[in-house]
Amino acid sequence: MHNEQIQEHFNNRNVTEADSNYFMVDIAPYPTDGWGKFKRVVKRSFRGELFVGLWVVLREMIRFNIHTVKYPEEKMPIGPRYRAVHEMKRLWESDTERCIGCGLCEKICISNCIRIDTKLDEDSRKEVTEYSINLGRCIFCGYCAEVCPELAITHGGEYENASDQREQFLIFQDMLTPLEKMKAGTQKEFEGFGAITPHEDERVKKTPLAY
């Protein structure tokens, strides 16, 4: 119900209607002659608006009520959907890497910064031998996380990636969830692009098997 009201409110953009929330801003007419313009300049210059601002700063300084985040000691919390440096997730069941090497992230990457190499391993499974993301080129669009069929590559909250070496911009092992984290059960699922929607479990149906 509430949603509908809001929708209604925003959809009605007829400014001429009496009950609309739009109103005309009271603007004085523009001066047209030279004298009028001069008067406006004088009026704007000497009204003392500068001091209004100065007073606010002085008042807050005296009160010691400062809102500045003291970065890097303090950091702002980041939303779960924030798209910062990538993470490679592990499977909850076996702690092995989720990535199956399908190469869809490499294909979809619009800045061509993902490279992947796979091979057949001894157990006749597909093994990802090399994986790299060139963060110097990455535009953090989130397509890779969205396309990943295994929820293996996701974005994380880590946005501090200054380095004096481009090579250090991303190493696969740094992206991969550490095993200690898996043991502690603290691997976080990504909620942004590509993540499954809440209550997905209830919507999935089993394949009927007659035996």
Binding site: C102, R115, A210
Partner: protein, 747 residues
């Protein structure tokens, strides 16, 4: 009798040729009927039942792939009932199909994936108890039975197009599977055609498996660089490791209409990885200034051949290429009788013919494209195939209907007898009539070891044939009496309904023979080798003084056995100099090699078409639109048949220069996946005659060449002729392929 049937598909009036299926007519008219198991180049498998349609006046559905229409019938390809049927078929296919699309090699180009989505399979109401179906490893081919949908495409191509007949269906309801025929492991020529046609990821290339996916690979359309069949293929490239340069991952082809042999499919990594530098380039220029001749191989493009010809004129030197020279000589003699420059046949003509003579070639290894065409003719038209050669070939056993085994060296006599048999009732002129009159049949039959009854048997089996083809192999081209043999071949083509196909030895032997004016190879020093031996070697093979790009790193054209000028493209980059750079420093000035495409020898039938204007595709009905066909050139027919020479005798231990399956030349030798068995292979009889036994290291001495090889006893061979591979050595292409040899065991 009316040969055309007119009827309606979805309300559109269409016309079918007699015997044509409804599906084919629909496809011709752009009407879509879904299929899973249909493949144009084989007879219908009729295993998927996806192509069902409704026909007016019929209860139930009709299989459109193997049903010809009747006059006036109205066909419906789309209705709710049909859609329901097709969805159910897809559901059945999906039962227990492993959900491993993420890693499957076929994912992204999988028929099962596509059709499952197309028919909107959103729920599964069928189930079956899954069973253990382990992966089978068959060398270059892997078979995953759990992914197999039993469409039987692989069995059909193996049997009907390739002729290996190496796999079959083991019937057993849900337990059905594909098994190698008659043995535990797959024993075949590893053409990999089964991999190409597999609509799912059941049959895969073991060398490619899990290395890349369909969506990661770049496709480069090109022409196969290994033999003169000029098969179309696509190189699929991608970066090698995360920082590596591009490499070719696999070869794909338009399997719906064309085929590839194993060398084409698995022998793709023959590119030259060596780069060339300026000092090598400068010394190449110096060497050319000093040189008296350039010796080159036919594994080059037409444009390169043209540049070599320009260099010849500019520098006043000679050009040596024995392979192309003997071919050119052969064709010159042919023209002197036939009055035209090019042979009349093509691979398509062979495929459509119902009677073929193949003489003087172990064709299955010399030119697999011809072999597949013969197989297609035999299986689809019931063609009678006469195989004339001194040795039986086990690979051709399924296809040939008559074996004509002649004595080594007597090809001229065999051709004369063949011509006599074929041209019995022909309207010959007097001199030709005189030629046949003078033949000493007793002598010829005795020396060639072919009885008269063999010819009458041939003529009897060919009697009802309408499209006939004569295929001439390299034994005849490199024969001492090649000139007269060519004239006899021309005579057969001229006075009978036989079309003629002369099989060139290398990929562009035909092109080189048309473009270059070649000199007889003299054993002189100061020869620059271009992809060949010389005192200074410019080559795309290892050990060159100056490295140049291989055929998969070049753009240009080659001329195939069909007399078709085929474009090929750059699949991998080459760092360094090309022949064109060398030519430019001699003042032969064109920026790109392919700018010469429109300047190729007009007198030989080349057209004035720029490289970039050449088409390179097969139409959706399979018509070949690659490049262009050489113009037919009429020339004077002033030649006369010569009297037959005495037929030579070959006694003792004879070797036959013949590569094993999957090998052609030094380039295929370079590749990673192809087997490199360089054994001397001979029969038990040969081993007794040469006093050697299986596994012995032997020294083979023939025509001034000495090489050492291991001897391998081959159960399939008979007689006293052994097969000597040449892909790892270079042989004089002008020499007759049978050689008297001395064979001694090495201790």
């Amino acid at each position: 009798m009316n040969k055309e049937v007119s009827f309606k598909i979805d309300g559109i009036s269409v016309v079918a040729q007699k015997g044509e299926s409804i599906l084919n007519v629909a496809r011709k008219n752009g009407i879509y009927i879904p299929t899973m198991c249909y493949i144009s180049k084989t007879s219908p498998c009729a295993s998927c039942r996806m192509c069902v349609v409704e026909a007016s006046g019929m209860d139930g559905f009709v299989l459109s792939c193997n049903t010809p229409p009747i006059e006036g019938v109205e066909i419906t390809t789309n209705s709710q009932a049909l859609n329901h049927e097709r969805t159910n078929i897809m559901k059945l296919y999906d039962v227990n199909h492993p959900l491993e699309c993420g890693v499957c090699d076929k994912s992204g180009e999988c028929d099962l994936q596509n059709k499952t989505l197309e028919f909107d399979v959103e729920r599964q109401n069928f189930s079956a108890r899954d069973q253990l179906r382990p992966l089978k490893k068959w060398g270059l081919i892997d078979y995953e039975p759990s992914l197999c949908i039993m469409c039987e495409k692989c069995v059909h191509v193996c049997n009907e197009v390739i002729g290996d007949d190496a796999i079959e269906v083991q019937f057993g309801g849900y337990k059905s599977t594909i098994i190698p025929k008659g043995s535990e492991l797959l024993d075949c020529t590893f053409c990999g055609e089964c991999i190409a046609v597999c609509p799912v990821g059941a049959l895969t290339s073991s060398g490619f498996k899990y290395r890349a996916n369909a969506w990661e690979l770049n496709r480069v359309p090109a022409t196969c660089a290994h033999c003169s069949a000029g098969c179309p293929l696509e190189y699929e490239t991608r970066h090698s490791s995360i920082n590596g340069a591009d490499e070719i991952y696999r070869i794909k082809n338009n399997f719906e209409f064309t085929s590839l042999c194993g060398a084409g499919r698995f022998g793709f990594d023959f590119e030259n990885r060596v780069s060339s530098n300026e000092s090598a380039f400068n010394s190449a220029i110096e060497a050319l200034k000093e040189a008296k001749a350039i010796r080159f191989s036919s594994i080059i493009t037409n444009e390169e051949a043209h540049i070599l010809e320009l260099l010849k004129d500019k520098l006043g030197i000679k050009l040596f290429n024995e392979d192309a020279r003997v071919f050119a000589e052969f064709m010159k003699s042919y023209s002197s009788i036939s009055g035209k420059l090019h042979h009349s046949g093509s691979l398509d003509a062979i495929k459509q013919s119902d009677a073929c003579i193949i003489i003087g070639s172990r064709i299955a290894t010399d030119n697999p494209g011809v072999r597949y065409a013969l197989t297609t003719a035999a299986k689809h038209n019931g063609a009678k195939i006469l195989y004339a050669h001194p040795m039986e070939d086990a690979l051709m056993q399924n296809v040939i209907t008559q074996m004509m085994k002649y004595e080594v060296g007597t090809e001229e006599g065999v051709m004369a007898l063949l011509a006599h048999a074929i041209l019995q009732d022909a309207d010959l002129d007097d001199s030709e009539r005189a030629f046949f009159k003078e033949l000493d049949f007793g002598y010829l039959c005795a020396e060639t070891n072919i009885g008269e009854e063999e010819f009458s048997l041939m003529m009897k089996s060919f009697a009802r044939a309408k499209k006939r083809t004569l295929i001439i192999g390299n034994d005849l081209i490199a024969h001492k009496r090649a000139n007269n043999i060519a004239k006899l071949a021309a005579l057969i083509e001229k006075y009978s309904d036989f079309s003629l196909v002369v099989v060139p030895r290398e990929v562009n032997t035909l092109g080189v023979s048309l473009i270059n004016s070649l000199d007889c190879d003299e054993n002189i020093s100061n020869v620059v080798g271009y992809n060949a031996k010389g005192s200074f070697v410019i080559s795309s093979l290892e050990g060159a003084n100056l490295a140049v790009p291989a055929l998969n790193q070049q753009e240009g054209t080659v001329v195939s056995i069909d007399n078709r000028v085929l474009p090929t493209n750059v699949s991998l980059e080459f760092e360094g100099y090309t022949l064109n750079d060398i030519a430019r420093s001699f003042g032969i000035d064109k920026a790109e090699t392919v700018e010469y495409t429109k300047e190729l020898n007009k007198n030989a039938g080349f057209k004035e078409i720029a490289f970039d204007d050449l088409e390179n595709f097969l139409s959706s009905m399979g018509e070949d639109n690659r490049g262009y066909l050489l113009d037919e050139i009429i020339c004077r027919a002033e030649g006369n048949l010569e009297e037959l020479d005495d037929l030579p005798e070959f006694n003792g231990t004879i070797i036959y220069q013949c590569d094993p399956v999957l090998q052609f030349n030094n380039y295929t030798l370079k590749t990673k996946q192809l087997p490199k068995e360089n054994f001397l292979r001979g029969s038990a009889q040969f081993s007794v005659a040469a006093r050697i036994s299986d596994g012995d290291m032997v020294e083979i001495n023939f025509g001034g060449t000495k090489i050492q090889r291991k001897f391998k006893l081959d159960e399939e061979l008979k007689g006293t002729i052994a097969l000597n591979p040449t892909f790892d050595i270079s042989v004089d292409a002008s020499r007759y392929r049978f050689e008297k040899s001395k064979i001694a065991r090495v201790m």
